[in-house]
Amino acid sequence: MKKYKIAVTTMLALFAMSASGCLLSFAYMSIRDLSRQSRLDRQASFQLQEKEFQKLSAEHEEWKKLPEKLQAFHHDHIIGMEDFAVFRRDLNFCLAANRLKATNISSQFSRRQGKIRKVLLSFALEGTYSDVKKFIFAMEKKPKMNFFERMQLNGSAEMVKGNCKMEAYIGE
């Protein structure tokens, strides 16, 4: 009889231990699940940091490429010293092609700033309004860095008289 009692007590104790162990393991898992939220928050913050870093990297890349881009800009848009004569011929050709009478074409070279020198061209022109407009359009669409700085147009009868100032940028 005593043997049975000992066996029952032992088994009940073991059962109680295993049941409490099982409950504790579930409780531990729940607590760990709760701490998982903080891990997720950390991950979200990491993703945010990663996005910011990517933005910074893109900006860094842009700045890194800047000298190359500036060089390309100079090459494509700034008139070379040897091309200035070509530009002047082009201007004369454009005026003639649009039947404009141009007088007092003067070029004023300013001091070099960095690698660029500004040339101020001024001239008077006379022609019909549509020809003047065609001339302006033709000069504006040229890819090189020359543009009108100021323009005064006076209309009388069918003719338009104007004073133009242009800027051209030449590189050295």
Binding site: M11, F137, M151
Partner: protein, 181 residues
């Protein structure tokens, strides 16, 4: 009469098979609960290990990212200092190159009705895009129609007078930036 009493507890008989069956059930329950506990703990340990690895990797990545970010920020600041002048000059040139005189003349053609004649116009290539002009109109109605069209462009009417030929002349200026074209 003699009363006979039996002490039943002292001689309580336990059925062997029934006890064995219940004991087996109890052992099974203990085994099942223990297995469940071990499985839970094992799974949790695996998770903990994975989390630890991940968190270590995340930490390393964050620290690497912060270091590179710091380096890049310094480089950007240095480049900004050395190249911003050249960049600003290039942007200013581009800004002036895109200024279109033709677009402004087109606009004036569009808003001027046949009774309006532009006698003089000055266009300047600047960001504000100020345009000054002298116009003559056959009637006040046509002149005011022009004013109405130019009103959104900060129109300033300098002076206006009626000539002997019953024409109306006005000097005015307005601003037309590239964004408004």
């Amino acid at each position: 009469m003699i009363k006979i009493t039996y002490n039943l507890a002292a001689t309580r008989k336990i059925k062997g098979w029934s006890f064995a069956f219940r004991a087996a059930l109890l052992v099974l329950a203990i085994a099942a609960l223990s297995a469940l506990t071990i499985a839970n703990l094992g799974r949790q340990l695996q998770r903990n290990h994975a989390e630890k690895n991940e968190s270590g990797l995340l930490g390393r990545q964050i620290s690497e990212m912060q270091n590179r970010g710091l380096l890049q920020t310094r480089e950007i600041a240095a480049w900004k200092k050395s190249r911003s002048k050249e960049l600003a000059a290039a942007n200013a040139l581009i800004g002036r190159k895109v200024f279109s005189f033709v677009a402004r003349l087109d606009f004036l053609e569009k808003i001027s009705n046949p009774g309006i004649r532009i006698r003089h116009i000055t266009l300047v290539n600047e960001s504000a895009g100020r345009i000054s002009m002298s116009v003559s109109a056959r009637s006040l109605k046509e002149l005011f129609a022009l004013y109405k069209e130019l009103a959104p462009y900060e129109l300033v009417i300098t002076n206006e007078n009626q000539t002997n030929d019953d024409e109306y002349q006005a000097n005015l200026n307005f601003k037309m930036s590239n964004e408004k074209i």
